[in-house]
């Protein structure tokens, strides 16, 4: 299991569309992936969970993955969040 912290740089935060893309990205990996903010941990493969967190731009989240492709998953997702658009 590995963890990685990321600061969300997407300008508008994780709104519905970026959240859907994020979940799609997470679903490419077979590892179990979670995202944690303020002690709230949700499954990164579930769109409702991600949207329920209402992640704003500039907030820090922790990406946690466990499985065969955990390293790739964490890196790809952190990169996704830190992308500035």
């Amino acid at each position: 299991m590995i963890e990685k912290k990321a600061v969300v740089k997407l300008k508008a935060g994780l709104q519905a569309r970026p959240a859907a893309l994020f979940v799609q990205e997470a679903n490419r990996f077979s590892s179990e992936i979670f995202i944690e903010r303020d002690e709230k941990k949700v499954n990164a493969k579930s769109i409702m969970g991600i949207m329920g967190l209402a992640i704003a731009s500039g907030s820090e989240v922790t990406i946690i993955a466990d499985g065969s492709d955990e390293k790739e998953a964490v890196d790809a997702l952190a990169q996704f969040l830190e992308k500035e658009e």
């Binding site: 679903n27 941990k41 949700v42 499954n43 579930s46 409702m48």
Partner: protein
């Protein structure tokens, strides 16, 4: 963990703020409450300064008997940097010394019309509820025949679809995909949806639907006690599934254990019906009727009879 400030209890318990308004945003971190009788008598060795302090008739009457010097010293020591607040009960007069000390260290002093024990129990109830440990779990919570069923399983296994079918059959949705759970008191887990996604359900291919506007107010609940967990998993032909229902698997959330059933998913298995039956069977078991146990007893006695006949 949810944050509770002095302001919250002033509003909730209808308290009157007497002094120390600066400290109104102080956090309350524990549901324990202290009645600092011994402290007023001068024994500060074990002063639980991080708790709310309650001063009732006994404490204040005793306080009046002290000399001026002691009065000031004790009140000063009562008002520390971390003390969230001091509450006077029975609407009694607040001693001058306490007002002075509280203004100096910004500890809010409040007054209630209630008796000490009554206020104490109200405060404890409120604080325990608000300071209860919470967590979020990936799953769907539905109320099936009055049983709070938490459906868990990997992403894409069909939790939301099963919930939709259950709603269509007249059961109630509490939360989809992300369930916030708090342990209210020992053995009592209550789940609700995060506010933002309340009443919503996500179905692959359809997108987000609002269960309340589609199916009506009777199809949703805002919170529900969780009593049963059903874990859906893709059928694994190498794995043994429970065939009798004699053993009971458990799932632990905080320090509460709830029974857990593992249901394999395969085309042709109607999950909604299985969950309905699981909920009914769970109720039946709680009423003392256990079909699996009754059957094994019957089987056992039949086998014994056969044996005797031989």
């Amino acid at each position: 963990m949810a944050k509770v400030t002095v302001k919250d209890i002033i509003e909730k318990l209808d308290l009157e703020l007497v002094s120390g308004e600066e400290g109104i945003d102080r956090p309350i971190t524990t549901s324990d409450i202290s009645r600092p009788g011994l402290e007023i008598a001068g024994f500060f060795d074990y002063y639980p300064e991080e708790r709310l302090q309650l001063l009732g008739r006994t404490e204040l009457t005793f306080f009046q008997k002290l000399n001026e010097e002691d009065k000031q010293a004790r009140m000063n020591r009562l008002c520390t940097d971390v003390t969230p607040g001091i509450i006077i009960t029975r609407n009694m007069d607040v001693p001058e010394e306490l007002i002075e000390a509280s203004e100096r260290s910004a500890v809010p002093v409040m007054r209630s019309t209630l008796k000490t024990t009554k206020l104490l129990s109200n405060l404890t109830n409120y604080l325990e509820l608000r300071l209860a440990p919470t967590t979020a779990i990936h799953g769907v919570l539905v109320d099936v025949y009055g049983v709070g069923v938490l459906i868990t399983g990997k992403s894409g296994v069909g939790k939301s679809e099963t919930a939709l079918e259950l709603v269509k059959r007249g059961h109630r949705l509490v939360a989809d995909d992300c369930v916030e759970i708090r342990q209210e008191d020992h053995n009592n887990l209550v789940g609700n949806a995060p506010e933002l996604i309340e009443h919503l359900l996500e179905i692959r291919g359809l997108g987000i639907i609002n269960v309340m506007t589609l199916f009506g107010a009777g199809a949703v609940r805002s919170y529900k006690r969780i009593t049963l967990c059903i874990n859906l998993e893709n059928w694994d032909s190498t794995k043994q599934y429970d065939r009798l229902g004699l053993e009971e698997e458990k799932m632990k959330i905080f320090d509460t254990e709830i029974p857990k059933l593992t249901i394999p998913v395969r085309p042709g298995r109607n999950l909604a019906v299985i969950i309905e039956v699981a909920a009914m069977n769970f109720r039946l078991k709680r009423m003392g009727v256990n079909a699996a146990k009754q059957f094994t007893q019957k089987l056992q006695s039949t086998i014994l009879d056969e044996h005797e006949d031989d």
